[in-house]
């Protein structure tokens, strides 16, 4: 066990965990932030996507010991982010969700995409969202919502 000081959504958080513990489980079990989801544990589904220093990151394969003082941003903070808010509103407006379990990760990937590429093409969308599995396959509306958020933000 070791003590880590984490910067999560702009707040200092202290945890005492095994150094190999993935960031995902630190968020979910130590910090009780369950918006970030466990789907596969091998970075194959994207349900656990968070932003680490602004980069969309699969938190299920990043040991907490590697985080250091990098900033971690999760779905819980998206309403405070202008792009995050626009994406969430587009998701609600387009009635994207079905079971909803993957959507935290989808939204985190979409926000990272729009911050890097404000006007994404279908190819950009497929490249950036291509690691986020939605078993309900709500992909048609995910595309629509990303384009809609992009328009709202411009």
């Amino acid at each position: 066990m070791a003590i880590y000081q984490l910067n999560v959504n702009g707040q200092r958080k202290q945890v005492n965990v095994d150094p190999s513990t993935p960031l995902l489980w630190v968020l979910r079990e130590e910090l009780k932030m369950t918006g970030t989801k466990y789907g596969c544990g091998i970075s194959a589904c994207g349900a656990c996507t968070v932003h680490v220093d602004g980069i969309a990151t699969r938190s299920c394969v990043v040991p907490v010991s590697l985080i250091g003082d990098r900033s971690i941003v999760t779905i819980e903070a998206m309403a405070q982010d202008p792009v995050g808010r626009a994406v969430q509103e587009a998701w609600v407006d387009k009635d994207v969700v079905q079971c909803g379990y993957c959507q935290s990760g989808q939204i985190m990937s979409a926000v990272a995409l729009l911050k890097a590429t404000p006007k994404p093409t279908d190819t950009n969308i497929e490249e950036s969202m291509g690691g986020n599995l939605c078993r309900c396959a709500t992909y048609v509306r995910i595309r629509e919502a990303i384009k809609s958020a992009s328009q709202q933000l411009s």
Binding site: E29, K37, G41, C45, E76, R135
Partner: protein, 732 residues
């Protein structure tokens, strides 16, 4: 799963069919379940659903005006948490902006009115509860009006209602919230008049989901997110071959990990496994990785996919138990070889892999238990937990948790996950324990859509139409040896094996369908749209092949071949034709259009796809869907189900869309080896068109799935000249 109409028919036939079935399992567990279909008179230990549903079990009007409507089913994406309250709120004239929906716990009053158990399946949520929720809304409204009329000393028929307010004849008005305690003292009317469709304010309108916002900001809690004070986390190491048993266990290293609370062998439905309980998931998983187990696999059948194919193809060469026989048995004798087609198909095992891994949380206090389960089968899961803990079902308080998908995987007859969780919780009296199946457990844990072989011989008659059709289907039964067998196995044929073929909508004069249901040591389960997954594929690809041979347009050919009574499917086909004609006749170079149509669960669907080939894979640019589901309660939800449901159906076509066995072991492990469709694999756009109707609504959860894969390979056939009869589609 059967359709409502078929179920009702069977219930009428079987006046008394209490299924006191018991299946003795290898682990020594006894599954005894007992159905009380409401159409049957009954006595027994489980109460049937009430004849009159008490509105107070479904509607609660809070003093602040919020109206809480209880949903008698699991919400796992299909949208009932919005659609069922819409129905009730419409008849109640409730202010929709004030409606809150809650998922019901397990209780007799929340059983499916037709199935008689609390469950989601067979695309029955709206089909079975439409009338029930309308009446509940109408009765609640009538009680509110009666209370207002009494207060104002007027007749109820002088009052009208709108948006949670009762208006009297002399400009009186009272809010529902202010009337609710008086209304509660009014008798529940036995009958109420319901609205004419023209009076609907919500039903038939595009209404957004109630759970959308919580699912976009991370606040929606799913079963896996549950956190209770003092809760422990459990994982189970399962045997490498189904039914294996622990011969010896070395848990020294596992126990040395800080935070591990216990390691112990547990019986499984088949064989045994080892449970690890810890304070945290990561600890439990690490400890599990350090277990050293010697497994006893003696005397256990070790399934092997290549051997199974050989066996299945051999079986398919002889007729099985007859599911349907029309016309002349010997009609094929008169068909010349040039007019015969023989087609053999292969379909692999498929895992459901819902995004939220399987889980169940239980706290056992000795005399009672409390369970939190994302469950499609509340009645069975509650009984199973009770059985393991030595409790009656009603001693198990059972909370229905939101589920991250399911597709059938949370509707398991033997409740194996709940039994594991209860077995573990029994050792931790007073402490809640959450059992988590990792993704690896899920991919390797069985309960798959069974593998199937089909063999079809067709004799082509005049004008290229099929005159003779002999069809043999081979695949495991989903229900043999379970309480469902008596309802679903007819003449030795599991209906779920042949559905979509034996009841085809096409008019084929000499038509023979039979099935073999071999026993294999692989647990199998219904997978969204069940038998239609493979039956629609076989039927719709062969019909397309016949149309091509007859030099006919595939839509015109289908139209000609449809039975006169297939009115819904014809209407869907016509609408699809109309809506897709422009793009189908104007495709870019390298693209081809493929079509299909199929009726499942009383909903008829026609599909056209625009496909090209990229990197030896089908690229699905566009899909046009037309469907007939009776009255579309929430057209927005119907559209969503179809737009995404066709994407789910693409699972069957994925290069890594198969679970395979070697020496008894599953060869895949996680999404790297078993890969469902991602955004680039699914259709880019899907336009959905609903045939206008005021007929009784039918389900839309499963019907989107069967049509997509045959339509795609029909398009591929145009591009490559090849017919694709083996799934998965490894390369084009």
């Amino acid at each position: 799963m059967r359709t409502a109409a078929k179920l009702q028919e069977d219930l009428n036939l079987n006046r008394r069919s209490f299924l006191h079935a018991s299946a003795a399992a290898a682990g020594g567990l006894l599954l005894s379940l007992y159905f009380d279909f409401p159409a049957l008179a009954g006595d027994g230990n489980q109460l049937p659903p009430p004849k009159v549903y008490p509105p107070d079990a479904f509607v609660h009007i809070r003093p602040d005006g919020r109206i809480v409507i209880t949903v008698n089913r699991l919400e796992f994406g299909q949208g009932v948490q919005t659609s069922l309250p819409m129905i009730l709120a419409d008849e109640m004239d409730a202010d929709w902006s004030q409606v809150i929906a809650e998922l019901a716990p397990a209780a007799d009053v929340y059983k499916d009115p037709l199935y008689g158990i609390q469950m989601v399946g067979g695309s029955g949520s709206i089909a079975h509860s439409f009338q029930q929720y309308r009446e509940l809304g109408g009765k609640t409204r009538a009680m509110l009006v009666a209370a207002a009329a009494k207060r104002w000393r007027v007749r109820p028929d002088q009052c009208r209602t709108q948006a949670s307010v009762v208006y009297g004849p002399n400009k009186q008005l009272a809010k529902y919230a202010d009337l609710s305690s008086e209304a509660a003292r009014e008798p529940v009317p036995e009958k109420v008049s319901l609205k004419n469709p023209s009076e609907f304010r919500l039903i038939g309108k595009r209404v957004r989901r109630l759970d959308s916002r919580a699912k976009c900001d991370g606040s929606q809690k799913f079963g896996l997110d549950l956190d209770l004070p003092g809760m422990k986390i459990a994982v189970v190491l399962h045997p490498p071959v189904f039914g294996g048993r622990v011969k010896s266990l070395d848990d020294k290293e596992a126990r040395s990990i800080d935070g591990v609370r216990d390691v112990f062998e547990i019986p499984l439905v088949k064989g045994s496994g080892v449970a690890v309980v810890a304070d945290r998931f990561w600890t439990a998983k690490q400890a599990r990785d350090h277990l050293k187990i010697d497994w006893d696999l003696s005397g256990i059948e070790k399934p092997d996919s290549s051997q199974l194919w050989t066996r299945y193809k051999e079986l398919a060469r002889t007729p099985g138990n007859v599911a349907m026989a029309l016309g002349d048995e010997k009609a094929m004798d008169g068909v010349t070889p040039a007019n015969r087609i023989v087609a053999e198909y292969e379909f692999p095992y498929l895992a459901h892999t819902p995004m939220e891994p399987l889980n169940t949380t239980i706290r056992f206090d000795g005399e009672r238990a409390e369970a939190w389960v994302p469950s499609q089968f509340q009645t069975m899961d509650q009984m199973a937990i009770g059985e393991v803990l030595g409790l009656k079902p009603e001693q198990v308080t059972f909370h229905t948790e939101f589920a991250g998908g399911g597709f059938g995987r949370r509707a398991v007859i033997d409740s194996h996950v709940q039994r594991e969780a209860a077995t573990i919780a029994r050792r931790f009296r007073g402490t809640p324990v959450k059992l988590i199946w990792t993704r690896e457990d899920d991919v390797r844990g069985g309960y798959y859509r069974p593998m199937h072989a089909h063999r079809v011989e067709i004799g082509i008659g005049p004008e290229g139409m099929p005159a003779v059709w002999r069809h043999v289907i081979v695949g495991q039964s989903l229900v043999a040896g379970t309480p469902f067998a008596a309802m679903l196995i007819k003449n030795g044929v599991d209906e779920t094996t042949v559905e979509g073929t034996s009841d085809t909508s096409y008019n084929i004069p000499n038509f023979h369908v039979s099935a073999h249901n071999p026993t294999v040591n692989v647990p199998v389960l219904w997978w969204r749209s069940v038998g239609h997954t493979h039956n629609a594929f076989v039927m719709e690809t062969l019909i397309d092949e016949l149309a091509t041979r007859a030099n006919m347009d595939p839509i015109a050919y289908r139209r000609k071949l449809l039975k006169p009574e297939a009115k819904k499917l014809r209407a869907a086909l016509d609408l699809m034709d109309e809506k897709s004609a422009a793009w189908r006749n104007n495709l870019p170079k390298g693209h081809a259009a493929g079509v299909s149509c199929h009726e499942a669960f009383d909903t008829a669907v026609a599909c056209a796809v625009d496909v090209s080939i990229e990197n030896k894979r089908p690229k699905i640019h566009r899909v046009t869907i037309a469907l007939h589901c009776g009255l579309a309660v929430n057209p927005l939800a119907v559209e969503s189900q179809f737009q995404a449901g066709v994407g789910f159906g693409v699972t069957q076509l994925m290069a890594k869309g198969a679970i395979t066995f070697k020496d008894g072991r599953v060869e895949q492990r996680n999404f790297d080896g078993y890969t469902p469709p991602y955004i680039m694999d699914a259709p880019t756009t899907v336009d959905v068109h609903i045939v206008p109707s005021t007929e009784a609504p039918t389900g839309c959860g499963e019907p989107p799935v069967p049509v997509i894969s045959p339509a795609v390979v029909n398009a591929l056939a145009k591009l490559t000249g090849k017919r694709y009869r083996s799934l998965p589609l490894v390369s084009v």
